[in-house]
Every structure is written in C-alpha cells, then in structure tokens.
C-alpha cells in the first residue's frame, strides 16, 4: 500500500547540508518539515571524518566531524523535525512528489518545496581508467575512511595514495597512526590539491613522500595488489616514457575527485551546470524547477563544511518561504553571470536583480597576487585582492543587491 504524506518542505539527505536546511526551514515558518536520509544515522559523511578542523569559520573552534554533526542533530531533535532513516528516495517529480522506499513500505510524499542535499560521491578507478589487473586492495579514500573509522576494519599494511585531495591527505595520516606504511602520495598536478594545513600536518609531519606531476600508470598484482607503477607526467599530464618506477604496496587509495550526486535532480528535470556538475541555481538557491532548491555538495563540491551550513540555511529559508507562498515574485529576469579569465565556475549561476547574493568561484589555474573582479554593466563593483589562488580553494564574494537592481550584465574574472 502506498502511504501518502503531505509536507511543506521535504529535505533529501541528512548530512550537514540537509540538517542545516531542515532546521532553517522550520525556524523560518515551515510547519511540516521532513528530512529523508538513505543511511542508518544522521550526520552524513561527517560521521566518518573523525579528524578536527571543522567549524573554524562558524564556531571559531576546531571540531571533529561527529562533534559538528551532533550540534545540528541535537537542534533538529529539539525542534521536533520529522526525519526518516534507511529511506531511499527513488523518484522525484517536477511537481515535487517524492516516492520513497524503506522497510515500512513505499511512501508518496507530496511536498510544497524540496531541498536537494544529497551530497556527492567519490570518483572511482573506472572514472580515471588505470591500467592493470583487478586485484583486491583498491579503495576510494572515503570508503577506506568509513571502514577504519566506523566499522573497525583494517584495509591493508602498505599503501600508495593516488591524488592529494583533502580526503587522501587525511587518510595518509590516519593510516600512519594505525600502523599502515604509506609509501607515497602521488599527484598528477604540479601542486597539491588539498589544503596546505593538511599537506603539513598529514604528510610532512610523518615524512610521507609526495610525488607531484606523477601518476599511477598501472596497478600490479593478481589476487591482491602487489605494487603500483608510477611515472612522471609532462605538461599535458601524459606519462613520460622512461620515468616509470615500481612501488611495492598491498593497498591503493584513490582520492581523485568528487561528483555531486544528481540522479534525482535530473529525474525532476533540474538543469545541471556541466562545470560544477550540480544544479543551476539563482540567488535564492532555487533550481530551474520552481520550488526545488539545492545546497551543499550536491550543488557544488565545497572546501569547508562551514560554507555548506551557511548555504543550506539560505536554501532552507527560501524553501520555507516558497512553501508558505511568501517567495517574492521577481519583477525582472534573472541575470546569468558570464565567466571571464581564469574562472571555471560560479555558484549561484544566476542573480536575482536587487537581491544580496553570496557567490563562490573556482579558478582553472593557480597564481599569486591576482584580483577577483565582478563587473556589473562595465563597472568594477567588486575588486578583491587574492594573494594566492588555486583550483582547490573557492573564492568568495558578496554582491549587494543595490548594485544589481537595474543591471543587465554581470561578468566575473580573475586577472593580474
């Protein structure tokens, strides 16, 4: 039997984005808020991130992932917000109907507004096409983190980590502390991809070698990983013949990027930005489908959970307003931001004229002493000096509504 539930705001995903969005929707007047989580507990990936460094921006404290999550879980319980665990949204329609399966059966949830907060998933070996046999012992870094920090399972004795993203760096330290020998961290780019703090405290502290401009060209071993072959790459990131080197190991961890998880968004007809691989949203974080909002890593992969929380609060606020029919009807068309020199992506992609908007950008290439310019109808409204830019760190800017009220064009560039 199909159980029907009607709600004001349905939030899909119980990680940091979903928690903050649900809390904010409730606090901003939505009476019936329902959070739907696929896993068996709230908190999402924060549960397995037992290292510290979360909350520095929002709480001025260096919390661990579980601590950060529990603050929001407690708030959710205090506000008596309904949530479903072990519940999978199988379908989302443009008219905001959610079909959900769990052990109690099949549910139809009719929502006035929906917040997408499904997060992201890791790129796998298949996505980067490493040659070689198919032995056991190849994990994505986040999966290894789940095994070690939540399930008390050990993954190997000697490991090579491909990719220097933050999860890879964190796992290098975590495994070292648990007695695993990290032979190398291998990064295809000429610069490390994670935060510098993590390069220092996770690699340098433990004398773990970092091979920049190198990649894994082959995984060796039949039943179990026995070694990897690495090689130096040229400026086109192609392996240079003759530079190969074999590193023995029984485990390979991949930290090679995250992909926003947008199957449900696509199903609902939400327009996706090929650069962020997340929905195209406006200043209210509303997607191309009216009443469907997005926040957190499903929208764009974030550097810091603090930013996710801030963004999710906004999504929750606007979703509540939409559900209550209080969303102001814009009197002018949205303005799509055009991307100039060294700007790979912008979120939100569309500005609602007259509305204050917090913007996040990513660059293509690293550089020193650059300027972020936001140009409205030919006038440089924001000129922000950036001592250092890198693709792994988002740039932020707040664009005041007064500058966009009568604007036609908004352009962004990062240049000298």
């Amino acid at each position: 039997m199909l159980n029907e539930i009607e709600v004001d705001v349905a939030v899909i995903g119980g990680g940091p984005a979903g928690l903050a969005a649900a809390i904010s929707a409730k606090e901003n007047g939505a009476e019936k808020v329902l959070l739907i989580e696929r896993g068996s507990r709230l908190g999402g990936i924060l549960n397995q991130c037992i290292h510290d460094g979360f909350g520095l921006v929002l709480f001025n404290k260096s919390l661990t992932g579980p601590e950060y999550a529990e603050i929001f879980i407690e708030k959710l319980l205090e506000l008596k917000i309904d949530y479903m665990l072990n519940s999978m949204v199988l379908e989302l329609t443009p008219s905001k109907k959610l079909y959900v399966a769990n052990k109690n059966g099949y549910h139809l949830i009719k929502a006035k507004a929906v917040v997408l907060a499904m997060g992201c998933r890791e790129r796998t070996r298949g996505a980067i096409k490493i040659a070689g046999s198919r032995p056991s012992g190849v994990y994505t870094a986040g999966l290894a983190q789940n095994f070690i920090n939540l399930q008390n399972l050990m993954i190997g004795r000697t490991a090579v980590i491909l990719g220097s993203g933050d999860v890879g760096l964190i796992m290098a330290r975590r495994l070292t502390l648990e007695g695993v020998k990290i032979q190398a961290v291998v990064e295809i780019m000429p610069f490390p991809y994670g935060l510098r703090r993590n390069v220092v405290q996770c690699l340098e502290d433990y004398n773990i070698p970092l091979y920049l401009s190198h990649t894994v060209t082959e995984i060796l071993g039949r039943d179990r990983v026995e070694a990897v072959k690495i090689a130096k790459v040229d400026e086109n990131l192609k392996p240079i013949p003759g530079t190969e080197k074999i590193i023995p190991c029984d485990t390979v961890l991949l930290s090679v990027g995250l992909i926003p998880e947008n199957e449900l968004s696509r199903q609902a007809g939400v327009e996706i930005d090929p650069r962020t691989q997340g929905p195209v949203v406006n200043s209210m974080l509303q997607t191309s489908v009216k009443g469907i909002f997005a926040c957190g890593n499903v929208l764009h992969v974030n550097d810091l959970v603090d930013y996710v929380t801030v963004e999710a609060r906004k999504a929750g606020l606007w979703a509540a307003k939409y559900a209550l029919n209080q969303l102001p009807e814009p009197d002018r068309k949205e303005i799509t931001i055009t991307l100039g020199e060294n700007v790979r992506s912008a979120v939100p992609q569309k500005i609602i004229p007259g509305l204050d908007t917090s913007l996040f950008f990513r660059v293509y290439k690293p550089g020193k002493n650059k300027t972020l310019n936001i140009i409205v109808d030919g006038n440089k409204i924001i000129q922000k000096h950036c001592p250092s830019v890198t693709p792994s760190e988002m740039l932020k800017a707040d664009l005041k509504g007064e500058y966009t009220l009568n604007a036609e064009k908004i352009h962004v560039e990062v240049c000298e």
């Binding site: 549960n47 037992i50 290292h51 510290d52 260096s62 919390l63 661990t64 579980p66 601590e67 529990e70 920090n149 939540l150 399930q151 008390n152 502390l177 510098r196 703090r197 220092v200 405290q201 502290d205 950036c386 001592p387 250092s388 760190e393």
Partner: protein
C-alpha cells in the same frame, strides 16, 4: 640551524625562514624568524620550530554501543613528538556504552596536560559481553 616553512594560517602562504639553535638536550631556541607578513604567522613559525603541537584524533573500541568505535581527541594540542606515545595508549583503550560527547576518557593523558575526550555520543544497545 635553519628551517624553511610555508605558513599554513592563511591562503597567502608566506615562505618563512627560521634560524635556531638546538642543545644536546633537544631544547630549541629560535634566533630569528623571517618572511612572515603578519605577527600571527611569525608566532606560528616560532612555535612550529620550538615546540610544534598537534591535536590527536583517533577512535577506541566501545562495548555494547550502537557503533563498534568511539571517536576521540585530545582537548588540547599535545607536543608533536608525543603523538605515537598517545596512540599507544589509545590503541589499548576500551569503554562501555553509553558514552556522551565531551566525556573524558583519559584525564591528563601521559601528563601532557590534555584530556582525551569522546567526540561523539554512542548509545547503548542490549548485548552481552
């Protein structure tokens, strides 16, 4: 002696050069810090050479919990060179559920002036052991 550091405090990432002496007891004395564009960076570099400290995070076994592991951390940073000593203590710890976030698991661990605290709540589930 000299140590080259890249500051981790802000995206600017100043290259910092620290001159120091070290006596036979391992006591380090900083003579000069150069390259930091701010006072915080200079202070960080001095500390990083004289007495580098880190927060240790890990997990311990928990009995009758709704999870097999309890995540823990030191509530203050401890000297970097004692990280593995602390890990050796952590390795052999075991607690019974329930545990509340913030609960002290080991007071003043190894006399380092930091407590080892629980960083999550683990509920008790019925079970025998």
């Amino acid at each position: 002696m000299n140590k080259k550091l890249v500051c981790i405090l802000c995206p600017q990432g100043c290259p910092i050069s620290v001159d120091y002496t070290e006596n036979e007891l391992g006591t380090v004395n900083v003579i000069s810090v150069e390259g930091a564009k701010c006072a915080r960076g200079e202070f960080w570099a001095r500390e990083e050479v004289e007495n580098p400290v880190r927060t240790v995070t890990s997990s311990i076994r928990v009995v009758n919990g709704d999870l097999p592991l309890l995540s823990v951390r030191t509530d203050k940073p401890i000297p970097k060179k004692r990280i593995f000593d602390v890990m050796n203590i952590i390795k052999n710890l075991q607690v019974n559920a329930p545990v509340k976030r913030g609960e002290i698991i080991v007071e003043n661990i190894l006399d380092l002036g930091a407590n080892l605290i629980a960083t999550r709540t683990v509920k008790r589930v019925n079970g025998e052991e």
